[in-house]
Subunit: 317 residues, 2 copies
């Protein structure tokens, strides 16, 4: 039996060298890893930037997720934020904290996951920092390009707009419920918890179609709709009538005697995109219309009932 | 006696609201905190980006440093990286992890420190993420502007260049030695450990003067000179002859029977800038010449002796 090689053996600089080895060429990356900073080209002169932090034990567990899944999930959170402004991510910068006894292979697979998810939108890993920490920490900053379009903010929703959503709702929450009960099936839900599949292309598509407001659904549909309602000073009325409940959600909900619609309304971490469109817009096909914007005290109304933000993920609750 | 308000009481969104309250207006910040991403203007179309992570217990202690000092130190690490490319930081994005029982006042003061340090170079706090973690974690990403100049990389040093340094050497290391022995004086050294004073303006000045290579001295002069030597394929010859040892360093060195020059050669975290200049360059006045670049197997020679990187900060050592 060979010893497991840990990052104590590999060392900070060795780990950085390995993580950044064989990065694909990207003409937008003027200086890549290995200098004090990366240097990037943004020909439009406008840069969208966002940061998400994932902490072991809070946002993932190493016994529930593979290293690749953790890396992909961490990247997805930031990449989805760029999409939610109508942009496309160009580059990721990664702060990586880990205990010295972390297997080097785990760190390598995690960053491979980061790079894999970044590649899905054409973004590059351009730099970062590696430090010792009691648990695994991933801090992912994404930089993105808006292609000359104005950013789609949370504050632009207007009475008369449609409310629409692209991507999955409730899958990650249902997957977490499955895992929390000690099960590993339905596999599609568990996979969705381990690694989301954000509808990245729907973000720029919505911007091009004239979306008035958009947000990454990371805290739950109601909680994030509320952010749009408050920023825009409007009411978002959502109707669940006619919602198709995907089979795996229905199966898990039946087994646990819960309402799958609640998972879809309150589950976060799938990184769906919630957007509002003016009536005359051609809503992109990635989106399904789930409601309308009306005037009134900022709030979210679901099937006629005002809902507070309960069920949304609260980090210090 | 009133209860201490903790971030459990304040909550994630309340904390974000407070941290980002009353940010000064900055016309380069097209979208500030409160949306899925910040949006920044970079008229030259070129962006320098870097990330540094500080972990409580590893990079700072809450009983040794005030919250303001921790925030300033965290910001300084990233701001100095931008300076070391010849740029000026425009914006900071902050990932903040903390235990729920952290006093809200500590979090507020820490981010006030971040903002204060950023203001020293004219940079704005534009966004971030707040999460729960077992200890305080600060992940600071800085974005900077090179003002149309090419980045000053580690790889450009050429035989015949001068080696020069701007800023303090050894102060933070000496301050750590003082604190580690249970003392709080000389105060100037302790303060230097708690919060560095990088020579930010020297970075763009060096770039303008034609510096061929530059690096932020975060691991120690020898260790970082070695990075330049290896990236450039040259030898950096350093002479300590005639170095002035600042009084506080001399005092602490005498008390502990150590050679203060070793602190200056191996101590990191002061964020001095090490640069090389061609013979014909006007070396900016912030810099003092400490050596020369010569051809040879990449290495660092101090006073005629080859030095390995010992004393440089190794994160997993």
């Amino acid at each position: 039996m060979g010893e497991v090689v840990t990052i104590r053996d590999t060392g900070e600089f060795g780990l950085i060298d390995r993580i950044t080895a064989d990065l694909p060429a990207d003409e937008r990356v003027l200086v890549g890893p290995g200098d004090d900073t990366a240097v990037l080209s943004f020909p439009t002169g406008v840069v969208a930037v966002t940061c998400d932090v994932l902490v072991e034990g809070r946002h993932f567990r190493r016994d529930w997720s593979t290293a690749i899944d953790v890396g992909r999930k961490a990247a997805a959170a930031s990449l989805a934020d760029i999409a939610a402004m109508g942009g496309t991510a160009t580059a990721l910068v990664v702060g990586f904290g880990a205990p010295p006894d972390l297997p080097t292979a785990w760190a390598m697979e995690c960053t491979a996951g980061l790079r894999e998810e970044a590649r899905a939108v054409g973004a590059s890993l351009v730099g970062g920092d590696v430090v010792q920490a009691p648990e695994v920490i991933l801090s992912i900053t994404a930089l993105g390009d808006l292609a000359g379009r104005p950013p789609v903010r949370r504050s632009g929703a207007r009475p008369g707009d449609f409310v629409a959503v692209a991507g999955r709702l409730g899958w990650a929450a249902a997957g977490l419920a499955v895992l929390s009960r000690g099960f590993a099936s339905p596999r599609a839900l568990v996979d969705a918890h381990r690694c989301p599949a954000p509808p990245y292309a729907a973000g720029p598509a919505a911007a091009t179609a004239g979306a008035t407001a958009m947000i990454d659904v990371s805290d739950g549909l109601i909680a994030d709709a509320r952010h749009v309602a408050e920023a825009s000073g409007v009411v978002l009325e959502i109707s669940t009538l006619g919602w198709e409940v995907p089979d795996p959600l229905q199966a898990a909900a039946s087994a646990y005697h819960v309402d799958p619609i609640e998972w879809m309304l309150t589950g976060g971490e799938d990184h769906a995109l919630l957007a509002t469109f003016p009536p005359e817009a051609h809503v992109p096909e990635d989106f399904r219309i789930i409601g309308a914007v009306v005037a009134g005290e900022p709030s979210v109304v679901v099937d006629g009932a005002v809902r507070d933000a309960e069920g949304g993920f609260r980090h210090f609750a």
